[in-house]
């Protein structure tokens, strides 16, 4: 007895215990693994430093403040070639966000639609949905992007075909033009924009030297390239506008009364309208909650449809009216359509291909989620007298969401990262600006790629954390 109780103290700690003693072994393995990892990382870093030195390059992010020098066709914020590479990267980042957002929304709608259809009892409908899913899921995304781009560029009429006798015509009451350079749709502009409106002198002095191109250049929306520096007017009409403004500030009210207001739109206008819309939706939800309480208390549900519609729509409608909203239709100018919003081929190809491709995966996830709900649920619903339509909407889908959401998150992440295939069709996303032209013009491959990687990492983490919040709200509550 005494020998056993004394043995560990007598021996003390021996080095061999690190391997043979199970108390220390796992710790030893972890420490060794950590050391190897650190060694590996530091080798990578020092190898990079060494090779950069051998190439005579330094590691410096200063290029982000240098003028970019190149133009970007699709810009959600103001940008011209004299602004910095950092600004160009931001324009690209916003373009990535735009296509990711549009793509996720469209993919979800397509996916839910086809996922439900694939379970349809109608043989034809179910097979058609299967063809869609298998067709898009099993062909590489890049091919779809290029195919859609080629269809748009080769199959659609040129803008000049829209002239008299050209054989092409605009759709939806002359408001939408589908061309081989993209689709032009009407834009909403404001005559009392919060961002301020330009005033054009009423009579053009010269009988329009610019010919056809001059006509619409006063009413450009967000889609036109402004090649001048910030605040530098470019076209003849803009020049007139600037003159008019100067005259106005000098001479007072008279000139302004004569001037014609150029409708425009600013982010502030849309912020107000959308803000009111969101407030309306929140209010409508509160009304719905109130109706539910009332129903539970009295058994009678008050009619809330009209109240809700009014809450949601009236305030934004009043705001639109006060701001003087009106449509800005695309009009054929010199080489292209002017005015309206220009959805470029690159955006359309990327958006459609991403949505169709990811939508096929989402459809399978939705189908799996629905199949995961036990058959007893729908049988119980039918027994209560609910029709199939309502059973799906009220009983099956809410429960299926618990199964659907987690894999849906990774599909959203896939879509967002796949948007970097934009380079294939010249869509100016973060990969094309920061990771493409900027790197090429400045030679900062390592810095540019690190920033790009960081951007995609942060974006993915943000998306997955937002989706996780949603997931927590719909998942099975365990008490």
């Amino acid at each position: 007895m005494s020998a056993i109780s004394h043995e560990p103290q007598a021996g003390g700690f021996r080095l061999s215990q690190l391997i043979y003693d199970t108390r220390y072994r796992s710790l030893t393995i972890q420490v060794v693994a950590l050391i190897l990892l650190v060694l590996g990382l530091s080798w990578l870093v020092s190898n990079t430093v060494q090779n950069l030195e051998a190439l005579g390059k330094d590691f410096d992010f200063g290029f982000l403040t240098q003028p970019a020098g190149y133009d970007i066709n699709q810009r959600l914020i103001e940008y011209d070639s004299q602004m910095s590479h950092g600004r160009a990267a931001l324009v690209g980042i916003l373009n990535t966000l735009l296509v990711a957002l549009l793509g996720c929304a469209a993919a979800t709608i397509l996916g839910v639609f086809f996922g439900v259809l694939r379970l349809s009892k109608n043989w034809l409908v179910a097979r058609l949905a299967a063809v869609y899913v298998e067709g898009f899921r099993n062909v590489p995304l890049l091919l779809w992007i290029i195919a859609i781009f080629a269809i748009m560029a080769e199959g659609m009429p040129q803008p000049r075909d829209f002239r008299e006798g050209g054989g092409a015509s605009m759709l939806v009451g002359d408001s939408v033009a589908v061309t081989n350079r993209g689709i032009y749709i009407p834009n909403v502009v404001f005559t009392r924009s919060l961002g301020g409106n330009e005033v054009v002198a009423p009579e053009p002095e010269e009988p329009d030297d610019a010919g056809t191109t001059g006509v619409a250049s006063g009413t450009y929306g967000g889609s036109r390239i402004a090649t001048g520096g910030a605040g530098v007017s470019t076209g003849q009409d803009d020049q007139d506008a600037a003159d008019a403004r100067n005259a106005q500030s000098a001479a007072g009210e008279d000139d302004a009364a004569e001037g014609e207001i150029v409708p425009s739109s600013s982010a502030l206008d849309w912020l107000v309208v959308l803000g009111l819309l969101v407030l309306g939706i929140i209010a409508a939800r509160m009304v719905t909650a109130w109706a539910k309480r009332k129903q539970e208390a009295t058994g009678k549900r008050p009619r809330t449809l009209w109240i809700n519609l009014a809450l949601i729509l009236v305030a934004p409608a009043i705001a639109l009216f006060l701001l003087g909203a009106q449509f800005d239709y695309p009009v054929l100018g010199g080489f292209n359509f002017d005015g309206g919003v220009h959805l470029r081929n690159s955006l359309i190809a990327l958006w459609f291909a991403l949505s169709l491709y990811t939508g096929a995966f989402v459809a399978e996830i939705v189908r799996g989620g629905i199949l995961a709900i036990s058959k007893g649920q729908s049988e119980a619903a039918f027994a209560l007298g609910l029709r199939p339509n309502r059973t799906m909407r009220l009983i099956i889908l809410p429960q299926a969401l618990r199964v659907i959401i987690p894999p849906l998150i990774s599909q959203y992440l896939n879509l967002t990262k796949n948007s970097s295939l934009a380079i294939a069709v010249g869509y100016m996303d973060a990969r094309s600006t920061l990771g493409g032209i900027t790197i090429n013009q400045t030679g900062r491959e390592l810095e540019g790629m690190l920033l790009l990687g960081l951007f995609y990492l942060v974006l993915s983490l943000v998306i997955s954390s937002l989706m996780n919040v949603y997931n927590n709200s719909v998942k099975l509550k365990e008490r």
Partner: protein
């Protein structure tokens, strides 16, 4: 201090990579071929022929360098590069020489750590439009859609040109010349802009070249030349003097037809003798055999022969010598003396 010692001890491989950067010639010789970066396909400058053999004016520079080193103009591995990948390919050592109608600019020479070894074509940026558009000057292009190759100097020139002239345009960025051609022919852009030589080469491949006009405005200087990595001057010397040898050969009347004979028999002109290794040891000074220039010239001919065969007036591309004539003929080509 401690960290740097620690890191330094770990970077045996890093040192090896750093040291090898200065011995491109040894690497090329032990590999047995030259890795040469060219375009992904621009007829006349670099494009594979019907048998898959690369041909063209830029390709000829690679072949001449390979011939000078190995005596074999076919000892070249061609690596197609886009406007965006070319400098990375060169910096990473994937290619030894870049002959891809690349414009020599200040930043590319200094900040991007390249070394331009000369100019093999004096070019400028131009615009091509369909004839039925009725445009006669680039200044009439207000509002036009313009196809450009991304990652090129043309992209920057274009932005400057339109900004300075206060006209608007819609850029359509495109990766390769072939895609740009497709977009342009489909009418997805009104204008295609790149170096005037590239426009001529592209137009030559059209079904009906006469339906397209190249506008008179040349909006930039585009001196195109081969380049190597910064930091290996010996390798840069070889590429530079092979190019100079081709240019000097034309000036001195040495052609692919008579170069062997002149090298065997010698001439009365001491410069030809030095160039062809009959006199002196010029080859040894750049680490090559003494008949390096003979091989380089025999590979495809002198500068004038290469120009005529690939892009000259007798070819579909039909470029005139213009600025690219010898200085004695009123052009800018002027090889330093071989002495």
């Amino acid at each position: 201090m401690k960290t740097s010692v620690f890191l330094g001890a770990l970077t045996v491989a890093g040192f090896a990579a750093g040291a090898s950067a200065a011995q491109t010639l040894d690497d090329v010789q032990s590999r047995g071929n030259l890795n040469c970066g060219v375009t992904t396909g621009l007829v006349g400058f670099a494009a594979p022929d019907a048998n898959g053999v690369w041909e063209g004016f830029d390709v000829a520079v690679c072949r001449a360098v390979a011939a000078a080193i190995f005596g074999d103009p076919m000892a070249v591995e061609f690596v197609p590069t886009t406007g965006q990948t070319r400098f990375t390919a060169l910096a990473s050592g994937e290619i030894d020489l870049l002959a891809r109608n690349t414009t020599w600019t200040f930043t590319r020479d200094t900040d991007l750590n390249n070394e331009f070894v000369g100019i093999n074509y004096y070019d400028g940026q131009g615009f091509m439009v369909p004839r039925d558009l009725g445009v006669s000057s680039a200044l009439e292009l207000d509002g036009a859609t313009v196809c450009i190759q991304t990652g090129t100097t043309t992209e920057l020139n274009l932005a400057d040109f339109f900004r300075v002239n206060n006209i608007e345009y819609e850029p359509v960025p495109i990766e390769t010349n072939a895609e740009a051609q497709q977009q342009y022919l489909a009418g997805a852009c009104d204008v295609y802009t790149t170096d005037a030589s590239g426009l001529a080469a592209t137009r030559a491949t059209f079904e009906d070249p006469s339906a397209h006009v190249i506008l008179p405005e040349i909006i930039s200087k585009e001196p195109l030349g081969p380049l190597v990595r910064h930091g290996d001057n010996e390798w840069g010397d070889i590429a530079r003097w092979v190019l100079n040898a081709l240019i000097a050969a034309e000036e001195l009347g040495v052609t692919s037809a008579n170069v062997e004979q002149l090298a065997e028999e010698g001439t009365d002109n001491p410069e030809i003798n030095r160039l062809l290794g009959v006199e002196g040891e010029l080859g040894a000074m750049i680490g090559l055999s003494n008949d390096w220039a003979v091989n380089a010239i025999a590979a495809g001919g002198n500068y004038g022969e290469l120009f005529e065969r690939h892009i000259g007036e007798s070819t579909p591309i039909g470029l005139a010598r213009g600025l690219n004539a010898q200085w004695t003929e009123g052009g800018l080509l002027y090889a330093p003396p071989f002495r």
